[in-house]
Amino acid sequence: MKHSRMNASLQSGLPPRSMADWVRDKTGGGIVGTLALALAIFVFALIIFGPLTNMLLWAVTERWYFPHTFPLQYGFEFWHRVFKPTGNAVESLQYSLMIAVFTVMFCLSLAVPAGYALARLRLPARALILLLFLVPQAFPNIPVYINIARLFYQFGWHGTVPAVVLVHTLHGMVYAVWIATAAFSAVDPECEAAARDIGAGPIRTFFTISFPSAFPGLVASGIFVFLESLDEFTGTYFVGAPEITTLPMLMFRAGMEGNYQVASITALLLLVPSVLFMFVVERFLRADVLAGVGR
C-alpha cells in the first residue's frame, strides 16, 4: 500500500498535493495520520491564539486569582475606569494618535522626495543608500535612544511631543523610504516622458503623474509608519517619559503594577488600528510595488 503510493508519486514526478497529504504519506495514512495532523493544527493554533485569548479574557475580568483556571467574575468595570474622562487612558490615546499623525506627516514629507530621487537613481548607489536607512535598526536600540535622550536634555527638548515625533520618525524612516522608493520605482518613466512630451513641465509632471501613480504605495508607507509609531515603546520611554505617556507606556505601567485588566484593554485598543489598517494595506499595496521593496 505504502509502496504503491510512493511509486505513483515518483512516476508522476509531482510533489504530494498538500501538507495534509505529506503528513498522511509520512505516517502511512489512515487514522494515525489524521490524528497527527489534528494535533499539529491544535498546537499551532494554541501558539498563535493562546496569548490573544488570555488577553481577551483579562479585558473582561473583574476578579481572577491563582488556583482558578478561569476568571471568577466577568464585567466591564475596568472599561469604565479606563475610559472615564479623568482616567489617563484617554489622554494616552490622544498623545498616541497625535504623535502618530505628526510622525506620518514628517516621515512622508522626507520620504516622498527621497523615494522619488532614489527610484530614479541607478542601482548600486540606490541599494547602498537604502541600506544606510537600515543602520539605526542595526545598532542596539537602547544605547542609541539613551544618547538621543541625553542630547535632547541638553537642548531642553526632553519630554515634549516634537522630541518623541523625531525619535519615531528615525524609527519609521526605513519603512517610509523603502516603500516610497518601491512605489515610485513602479511608476513607468515612459508615463512621465509622455506627460513632458505633451507639454507638462517637470514639476507639473511630478504632481499630476508620478505622485498620483505612486499614491497607493505612499498610503501603505504612511500606514506602516503610523502603526510603528503607535506601537513604539523604547524610544518614547527614554525621550518622552514621564511627561508623555502613550498607550504602549500606559500598558507597560499597568502590566508592571499587576493591573492586567487595564493592560489588556490598552492592548486591545492598540490592536484595533493594526487589524483595520492591515486590510487597507492589503488593498493598497500592489504586488508589483511589494516586489520592488528594498531594490
Binding site: A193, A194, I198, R204
Partner: protein, 378 residues
C-alpha cells in the same frame, strides 16, 4: 518646398558608445517617414533626439526652421506615441486625452467636444469614461494615438506603435493609421524594425545601420535599387551567391565554375568596379524572383541554355535541391549552389537531391562587387 523637420548632422552617445553618427535628413510637410533598422541601429535614439528626450552631442534639430536642439520635450511642437503606450493608469480615457488640452488652457466644453471628435475618429466612442487599464491592446494603442493627436502636434512621433499587438490587429492598424494621418495631413516619423510595415505606411524610408542612415528614399526605390548589400539583405533579398569577377575587353566576366558558368555582362558599374580591383561579386536575390527547372544530367552551360531558352535575358546558376518544405502557396526549396545554401520558391515541387538550373531574369537580382582582402592584395 521647405522642410518641416530638418535633422542636421546629429550624433549621440550613451556613455562611450556612439549610437548616432552624423545623421541628417529632411522631411516635408505632410510627409510620412519611417526609420527602419534592426534593434540597436539608433532609430529609436534618433526619434528621441527629435522629441527632445535625448540631447545630441553634435548637430541640430529644426522644426519649421526653428532650432529645437536645446528645448525640453514640453517646449517642442511634437507628440509621441510610445511603444508601451505609456497611458496614465490613474486616469480614464477622457482624462488621458484631456491632459494636454487642459495644459493649453482650453475650456471644459471645448475639451469635451474635441475629445468626442477624436474618439469618433478612432472608433472609441462610448469608452471615454472607461479606465485605461480596462482596455484591450488595440484600444490602448488608439488612445495613445488619440492623446498625441489631441494636442494637434506639428510633428507626430511613432515609436514602434504596433509592436505590442497581435499580428492580425497589426495588419489592420497599419492601413488605418496611414489613411487617418493622410486624411488629417499629419507629418509623422515612424520607428519600426518591420520592413513590410514601413513600406506599407510610409512615403519615405530611412534605413539605418550602426547609427547611420544607409539609404534614404521611397519604399520602391530601396526595394528595387538597394544601394548596397546590407540594404538588399534588409529589403528581403537575403539569398546570396558569391562568384568571381574579372574584366575582359570592356566587358565584365563573371563566374567560371560548375555552379555559375562563365559568362560576360555588359554593365558599366561592374566593369568600373572590376577595373578598380573588385575580384568577387555578391549576387543577391529574393526567394520569389528565381525560377527552377530540372537539368537532369546536363551540366554544361550549353545544355543549361538549351533547357531554359532566352539565356541572355537573365542569369543561370546550377544547384542541387537539399530540402523541400511547403509553407503554403508555393514550395520552398533549399538549393545548394556552389556550397552556399539559398531558398527558392517555385510552384512546382522538386525532389531532394535533384539537380536543377536556377534562372533569374535581369532586374530580379542585385549585383554588388566586393573588394575583399584577397583581391586587394592582388
Amino acid at each position: 518646398m521647405a522642410s518641416l523637420l530638418s535633422v542636421q548632422n546629429v550624433s549621440a552617445s550613451y556613455g562611450r558608445q556612439r549610437v548616432l553618427d552624423g545623421v541628417s535628413l529632411e522631411l516635408p510637410e505632410s510627409g510620412f517617414l519611417a526609420l527602419l533598422g534592426r534593434s540597436g541601429c539608433g532609430k529609436t535614439t534618433l526619434l528621441r533626439v527629435i522629441g527632445g528626450f535625448i540631447a545630441p552631442a553634435h548637430g541640430r534639430v529644426l522644426i519649421d526652421g526653428q532650432d529645437m536642439t536645446s528645448l525640453p520635450p514640453e517646449k517642442r511642437p511634437t507628440a509621441m506615441v510610445f511603444q508601451s503606450y505609456a497611458l496614465w493608469p490613474h486616469m480614464t480615457v477622457h482624462g488621458n486625452l484631456a491632459y494636454g488640452l487642459r495644459l493649453r488652457g482650453m475650456g471644459k466644453a471645448e475639451i469635451t467636444r474635441r475629445i468626442d471628435e477624436i474618439l469618433a475618429l478612432l472608433q472609441l466612442d462610448n469608452l471615454a469614461d472607461r479606465n485605461v487599464t480596462a482596455l484591450s491592446g488595440g484600444q490602448r494603442q488608439r488612445v495613445a494615438l488619440g492623446r498625441a493627436l489631441a494636442v494637434a502636434p506639428r510633428l507626430l512621433l511613432l515609436d514602434e506603435p504596433l509592436s505590442n499587438l497581435d499580428a492580425r490587429i497589426r495588419l489592420d492598424l497599419r492601413h488605418e493609421i496611414r489613411s487617418l494621418l493622410k486624411r488629417l495631413g499629419i507629418t509623422a516619423v515612424h520607428v519600426t524594425h518591420d520592413r513590410e510595415e514601413a513600406m506599407v505606411m510610409a512615403d519615405q524610408l530611412a534605413l539605418m545601420n550602426d547609427g547611420q542612415i544607409v539609404q534614404f528614399g521611397a519604399p520602391a526605390a530601396l526595394y528595387d535599387h538597394p544601394a548596397n548589400s546590407f540594404v538588399a539583405d534588409f529589403m528581403g533579398a537575403s539569398n546570396v551567391i558569391t562568384v568571381d569577377l574579372a574584366v575582359s575587353g570592356g566587358m565584365a566576366m563573371i563566374g567560371g565554375d560548375d555552379a555559375c558558368p562563365r559568362r560576360e555582362i555588359a554593365d558599366a558599374t561592374l566593369v568600373r568596379a572590376a577595373s578598380q580591383g573588385a575580384r568577387r561579386l555578391d549576387i543577391r536575390f529574393r526567394s520569389v524572383s528565381a525560377r527552377l527547372s530540372e537539368c537532369g544530367d546536363a551540366k554544361t552551360p550549353a545544355a543549361a541554355a538549351a533547357v531554359a531558352p532566352g539565356a541572355n535575358a537573365g542569369l543561370h546558376l546550377n544547384g542541387t535541391i537539399e530540402q523541400v518544405t511547403y509553407p503554403g502557396d508555393v514550395y520552398r526549396h533549399a538549393v545548394n549552389i556552389g556550397g552556399r545554401s539559398v531558398l527558392i520558391d517555385d510552384a512546382k515541387r522538386f525532389e531532394e537531391g535533384c539537380k536543377v538550373s536556377v534562372f533569374m531574369p535581369f532586374g530580379a537580382f542585385h549585383l554588388f562587387p566586393r573588394i575583399d582582402e584577397q583581391s586587394r592584395a592582388a
